[in-house]
Subunit: 141 residues, 2 copies
């Protein structure tokens, strides 16, 4: 696994008073290697023997430590990916048929427009934006 990523994750867990255990390292590895948001069942498949309760518990710890982010809006299962400042800012495209989620790298022009929209909003203190495309993936088509 990437050394710098490893060190940054260790730092964030330490900040949250959490240990960087083998299981948590494994979760970070799986998510870093996937290149797209994964569900808990998908994570369990890639690490046979890992118990479901531990997967949920530790993903939750990683979310609280700002290492992992939960992605919603794609079928029944939550999807998980590395935090944006670890994996790079990107958006998602969701298949409306099978729920699969793929990463999309945005253009600078798009980002400028999105930030502008965030600034124009009143009444809320905007902290984040989400831009997802919805469509049908090649397999489902």
């Amino acid at each position: 696994m990437d050394r710098q990523l490893d060190a940054e994750v260790a730092l964030r867990l330490a900040r949250a008073d959490q240990r960087y255990t083998g299981l948590r390292r494994a979760l970070v590895e799986v998510l870093a290697g996937a290149g797209r948001p994964l569900t808990i069942p998908e994570i369990l498949q890639s690490r046979p023997g890992l118990s479901q309760s531990s997967a949920y518990r530790n993903v939750s710890v990683l979310v609280d430590a700002d290492v992992v982010r939960r992605v919603t809006g794609a079928g029944d299962h939550g999807h998980f990916e590395l935090a944006e400042d670890l994996a790079g800012h990107h958006h998602h495209i969701v298949c409306s048929s099978c729920g699969r989620v793929a990463d999309v790298v945005p253009s600078p022009g798009l980002e400028r427009a999105l930030d502008e929209a965030a600034r124009a909003t009143t009444g809320f203190e905007v902290t984040e934006h989400r831009f997802d495309l919805v469509g049908v993936c090649a397999e489902c088509r």
Copy 2:
């Protein structure tokens, strides 16, 4: 309730081989009057006596008939609103603290940028885009 909306909903339900019952009319009224996506508990509050199972069932019927759309990514409950072509295209801002969702009307420039991004995506047949802001609402702040 708006006559044109009423007729359009009747048409869509007929297309889906569904009746436009009093309960379904009530649901459309509540959603049209809210001006923001509502959860099932919120809908139940505004129509006392309405049973939970009927609310879920009929909202689902309305979703299948393309009258209502489910909004995800805001807390534990799903939120429901009128379909975009009935209520007008808009985006949402979600309070990360309490889960409340408000509507946001986008600028033409933003829409142009979003459409461009959709066109640039390959591998998927893009049918829709979602752009949500996340922040903290005035009450929670």
